[in-house]
């Protein structure tokens, strides 16, 4: 057993970080959020094609189909980097649509998606929509009135300026003329969407720890860095712990693909992203409340991702029910094992 990243995985991760530094530097993010909200509606064809060329979407397709033949662990590492950089756009659904929707693998088609009526991101800029509401996945693709317009969605003013949102009231009927069945197991796609979204939350959660620490080291009050005060240190330490538990959960779930582990990974990554962004805001003090500091962008993106594919309540309920279904049956030795004699606390 060697749970650590392999050399190839570390190289892949570093490559993605470099790519994003070149293609989506902080200035691009700021231009998106500081500009007119309407121009932010599209993630940008050029960026999308660059991500496609780099293999982000085709990563897990077999090599004979133009993919890299890699697995979920590698995908998770790339999505973690995307989350860290607050890369906008329907990344997970375009990745999942590779091989199902023509052009998605190469980044020539932008594919968003959702699993129930509600809020959907990047609908106006998307070429296709994955619907993961039933046993079989469906894709709304352009032409003959089958495109994203078929959802009859209405825009809402998104809390995250880099993630435009629409409200969808109804799905088209399961086997109507406006939908296109794709040969894919919707529950598998749903699990993978959940995990890849969790990976983005993880990237954000780890990034806000770095930001908080960086600020705490350089912001002086009372003649010393605020990071020399235990009240601030402990806030940062708890952020790190949250991020670490989310990290091992997301990584392990990507290796096992186990539904319960994926649910747990999303739950912990959602909490880590939201709470770390909130704590980071606190460490930044008044600056954290301003538009010009990126902390609020992490928080707002984390709120959006937390509602995608698996809400906190759904994750907790699912994992509660898993407790009833799994686990070894109780034996008399269980009772003994839980007794007082078992607590080996060294002081």
């Amino acid at each position: 057993m060697d749970f650590r990243l392999t050399g190839d995985q570390r190289a892949l991760q570093a490559g993605m970080r470099e790519l994003l530094a070149a293609r989506f530097p902080r200035e691009r993010l700021r231009a998106l959020v500081d500009g007119d909200a309407r121009t932010a509606a599209r993630p940008g064809r050029e960026l999308w094609t660059a991500l496609g060329d780099a293999g982000l979407f085709a990563l897990r397709l077999p090599e004979r189909d133009g993919g890299a033949g890699l697995g979920l662990p590698e995908a998770v590492l790339l999505f973690e980097e995307a989350g860290r950089a607050l890369l906008p756009g329907p990344l997970a659904t375009t990745h999942l649509a590779a091989g199902l929707v023509p052009g998605a693998a190469e980044g020539r088609r932008i594919v968003t998606g959702l699993d129930r009526p509600g809020v959907v991101a990047h609908l106006a800029g998307a070429d296709a929509v994955l619907l993961l509401d039933g046993a079989t996945a469906r894709a709304l693709t352009p032409g003959e009135g089958n495109g994203p317009d078929a959802l009859g969605a209405t825009p809402l003013r998104s809390v995250d300026p880099a993630t435009p949102l629409h409200r969808v009231r109804d799905f088209p009927p399961p086997l109507g003329g406006s939908s296109l069945e794709v040969t894919a197991d919707a529950s598998r796609l749903h699990r993978e969407a959940t995990l890849l979204t969790a990976a983005q939350q993880l990237g954000s959660a780890r990034r806000t720890v770095e930001m908080a620490v960086e600020h705490a080291r350089h912001r002086f009050q009372f003649g010393r860095p605020v990071g020399a005060f235990q009240a601030v240190q402990h806030l940062c330490a708890d952020m790190h712990v949250r991020a670490e538990l989310a990290r091992v959960s997301v990584y392990a779930a990507s290796v096992t693909g186990d539904p319960a582990e994926i649910a747990g990974a999303k739950l912990l990554a959602d909490s880590a992203a939201i709470r770390n962004a909130s704590d980071c805001l606190q460490v930044y003090g008044g600056l954290g409340f301003t538009w010009e500091v990126d902390v609020h962008l992490h928080l707002k993106r984390a709120w959006i991702h937390a509602g995608e594919w698996q809400s906190v309540a759904e994750g907790e309920e699912f994992l509660a029910n898993m407790l009833l279904m799994s686990g070894p049956s109780e034996t008399p030795s269980d009772v003994l094992a839980g007794g007082l004699g078992g607590d080996n606390v060294a002081l």
Binding site: P73, F229, V232, H234, V248, V255, L323, N344, V345, L347
Partner: protein
Amino acid sequence: MDLSETLEEEEFRHRLRAWLREVLPTLPPEPAATDWPGRRAYDRAWQRALHDAGYAGLHWPADAGGRGATPTQHLIFLEETEQAGAPYVGANFVGLLHAGPTIAAEGTAEQRSRWLPPILRGDEIWCQGFSEPEAGSDLAALRTRAVRDGDSYAVTGSKLWTSHAEVADWCELLVRTDPAASRHRGLSWLAMPMDAPGVTVRPLRTLAGSTEFAEVFLDDVRVPVTHRLGAENDGWRVTMVTLSFERGTAFAGEVVACRRTLTRLARAARENGRWDDAVLRRRLGRLNAEFSALWRLTRWNVSEAEHAPHSGRGGVPGTAGSVFKLRYSHARQELYEAAAEVLGPDSLDGGREWTADRLSSLSYTIAAGTSQIQRNIVAERVLGLPKAR
């Protein structure tokens, strides 16, 4: 990222499982928590059984009498013994996890051959004399004095929170040998026989009603200079070798136990109707994710330890242990808070297993480095924040 076990690891697991299936039914009933002589005998017998089957000191280096097992094998050992409901390390805890590894790392050949084999066989029980009334989290503030007198030290002072002091044969003792030197610099590590004249043990009653640890008074106790580990006044460094083990895989078995407790809690809630409470249900669901993550974190730390340049000592970096312990100790308390919710009014019955465990869980955020100290460690040594004053 590979979570699969190697052929050797699988074989190790199956061999161990088969042995446990064979040996556990032959064990005598576990003695009562208050029966200290009984517990000593029981824990020693279990250690002897492990020794004879080749499982003693699994994670110790081979040249110290251990099995030189990999950290992964040690993890498998902790998981399997827990799953099978095998006895805990009990009174052998300090010997196997603190004093022994320290002696193995820092002792002379004579010291190793004198003390290590009896620990591995379960013949001798060790306790730990580090903390003092005025030196808790600030261990370097300890005052117990050891004055050199010929070829022995005269030790005077008092130690606190000494687990298993009542049944121990030896005490790993941290003392001040140079009162002029600053804090960490004037300390030495001594092995003190608990039956030496001048040693008085006064059991301390915990809030759970048990006497898990004691206060130890030392009045001009003679300890031979040959019982000192490492150089005089180098005791702080010697001790830190020990403490890094403490936060390693020591809790791996307990995480497995907590996951099983969680399953039992869910079933109990289903039976008594508390399951209908969505707030409680969701708390249990979240704890499922938390303990699963802690289990994975242990595996990550073990992988790091196994492939670290200085592997083979079975330890993980102390800072990784701090991250684990911070979350685990609080999660354990949350688990038994949830248990109290499941039990309802029965949680006030001190005779209930989960009530007793709820009480004992309160020590977890204090023992082996408080949560506040752990946060200091994470902030300063992991995150690189400036040192707080």
